[in-house]
């Protein structure tokens, strides 16, 4: 069992979720987050004073999924989230110990 964390550009979120759906992965938790990496911010200008934001808006998608689906999920996300520019984001994959469905207390997978 794996836990996939994808940090992507916010404008790609819809496409990523659709693409995951096509791969029959329709479970996901999405949050808007702020972060920074190699991509520098877009300078905003307020009354002619430039403010370079330290943090950029990103979207974080978290998915818990069986080992055999991880490959498909990563491929689906990179397929549509990649623009080729700095700032496209990252995928983190963690081992997941356990997951429990609250409604039934059953241990899934």
């Amino acid at each position: 069992m794996k836990y996939l964390i994808a940090i992507i550009q916010p404008d790609r979120m819809e496409d990523v979720l659709n693409e995951l759906d096509k791969s029959l992965i329709h479970y996901a938790t999405v949050t808007h987050v702020l972060g920074r990496g190699r991509q520098k911010g877009i300078a905003a200008v307020y009354r002619s004073h430039k403010e370079v934001g330290n943090l950029l808006r990103k979207t974080k998608i978290e998915i818990a999924l069986p080992d055999d689906e991880i490959q498909a999920a990563c491929e689906a996300i990179t397929r549509v989230a990649r623009t080729g520019n700095i700032g496209d984001g990252k995928l983190f994959i963690l081992d997941l110990e356990e997951s429990i469905r609250i409604r039934t207390s059953e241990k899934t997978w």
Binding site: A44, V45, Y46, R47, S48, H49, E51, G53
Partner: protein, 447 residues
């Protein structure tokens, strides 16, 4: 036609007053004499309400521009001034500003608690409306003027000392300056003074508040992290809402200052709208040249600068002059906010000096250039209409207002700081004034 109408109104006024349980024989007799004009009274009451709305409007204009941890502190300061200065005005302020003159400097105390300020028109101020309408209209000006100063020291001032400062400022700065310019016998104005033209408060409101703002920014020093680590405005839509309310309320501010529903009021109304539009447009275009993009904050700032600049001139200038005044306001305030502030290094948080001080000075000068008696026979001709004398008078009045406001405000800041401590401590500034000064939060994260 007008006479018949006014006689009818007078009779109606007398009946209404005699119906009042508190009326005595004297007031009924007096009510027959002055002429109350219904249209003028209605317009001035509506204008008073319009100007009242400017203070909450300003609260949103300023509130949107600060960081989210300080938005309530700014809204609170504006709304509290509305309460505080209204009471100050009724108790003592109106008497100091407009009461019977003492040597052109200040009103005496005979109108304390609005004693003698009733429903009979005053013989000099707004002679066609009940005296109390004029009083409440002026009260709204007394309220918004100290509220404008907030922009300079936003995000770093303690609340109680701020309130004490405001009370002192209204009493020792606003009331005297209003007296000099607008009161019967005031040294600067047109009722027996040197004849400076200030239709709706270029000097009294904007230069006055602008200089106080500069004094405040200099006295309190910069915010932590200024200028390199400041966060952007937390809610620009709020600022746009506020600017919209200011623009709307300004029709009462300027056109109401005709103190009658007449041609001068219409001239002021039209001039106000034109100048604001011209200044917003100018700022938007300058932004394209200087910053490559036209910004929303830019055009609303420009529009407010235009409103400020047309304020002293609105009842004296033509529509074309209004365009030029607006262009000038957009351009000059743009330069002051973009270059002067950075160069001189003071932290005027929300550009209260850069827009109101600088825009007010330009407007008062422009009145000396563009005023014409063809628009308002009760005014004077400016430089471009063959009378350089008016420009000199305007410059003198500007100079006196600048010096008095800056010096006395600085003294008041010093005194309040010595006694109470004005500046919020570092912890409060980091956490934000909403929580540390008011125990409230504007936005909840959960539910």
């Amino acid at each position: 036609m007008r006479n018949k109408l006014t006689i009818g109104m007078t009779a109606l006024g007398a009946v209404m007053i005699s119906g009042n349980a508190f009326a005595d024989a004297e007031t009924i007799v007096a009510a027959v004499e002055p002429i109350i004009n219904g249209a003028d009274t209605s317009w001035l009451m509506i204008s008073s309400a319009l100007v009242m709305l400017m203070t909450p409007g300003l609260a949103f204009f300023y509130g949107g521009l600060v960081r989210r941890k300080n938005v309530l502190s700014v809204l609170m300061q504006c709304m509290f001034i509305l309460c505080l200065v209204t009471i100050q005005w009724v108790v003592v302020g109106y008497s100091l500003a407009f009461g019977p003159d003492i040597k052109g400097i200040i009103g005496d105390l005979s109108w304390i608690g609005l004693s003698g300020v009733g429903l009979i028109p005053h013989s000099v101020y707004a002679t066609t409306v009940p005296h109390q309408v004029f009083m409440i209209f002026q009260a709204m000006f007394a309220v918004i003027t100290p509220a404008l100063i907030i922009g300079a020291f936003a995000e770093r001032v303690k609340f109680i000392p701020f309130c004490i400062f405001t009370l002192l400022w209204s009493t020792f700065v606003y009331d005297p300056v209003a007296h000099w310019v607008w009161a019967d016998g005031g040294i600067l104005g047109t009722f027996g003074g040197m004849g400076a033209l200030d239709f709706a408060g270029g000097a009294v409101v904007h230069i006055n508040a602008g200089m106080a703002a500069l004094a405040g920014a200099l006295f309190l020093g910069k915010r932590l992290g200024y200028p390199n680590k400041m966060s952007p405005p937390h809610n620009l839509p709020f600022a746009v809402l506020g600017a919209g309310l200011l623009w709307f309320g300004w029709f009462g501010f300027n056109a109401g200052s005709a103190l009658a529903a007449n041609g001068i009021a219409v001239n002021a109304f039209v001039a106000t709208h034109i100048a604001s539009a011209a200044a917003g447009l100018t700022w938007g275009i300058l932004d394209i040249f200087h910053n490559k993009k036209s910004t929303l904050l830019g055009i609303i700032t420009g529009a407010v600068a235009g409103l400020v600049a047309i304020t002293p001139a609105a009842g004296f200038v033509t529509p074309m002059a209004s365009i030029i005044i607006g262009l000038g306001a957009g351009g000059i305030c743009y330069l002051s906010v973009t270059f002067m502030k950075t160069k001189l290094g003071y932290d005027d948080s929300l550009d209260a000096f850069g827009v109101h001080g600088v825009g007010g000075i330009w407007g008062a000068i422009a009145t000396g250039l563009f005023a014409t008696t063809t628009v308002n026979p009760g005014g004077a001709d400016g430089l471009f209409y063959g009378n350089p004398g008016l420009l000199l008078i305007q410059l003198k009045a500007i100079g006196i207002t600048i010096i008095y406001s800056f010096i006395v405000t600085s003294i008041l800041f010093w005194v309040v700081d010595k006694v109470f401590g004005l500046r919020a401590d570092e912890h409060a500034e980091r956490v934000g004034l909403d929580l540390t000064e008011h125990r409230e939060a504007a936005y909840t994260t959960l539910e």
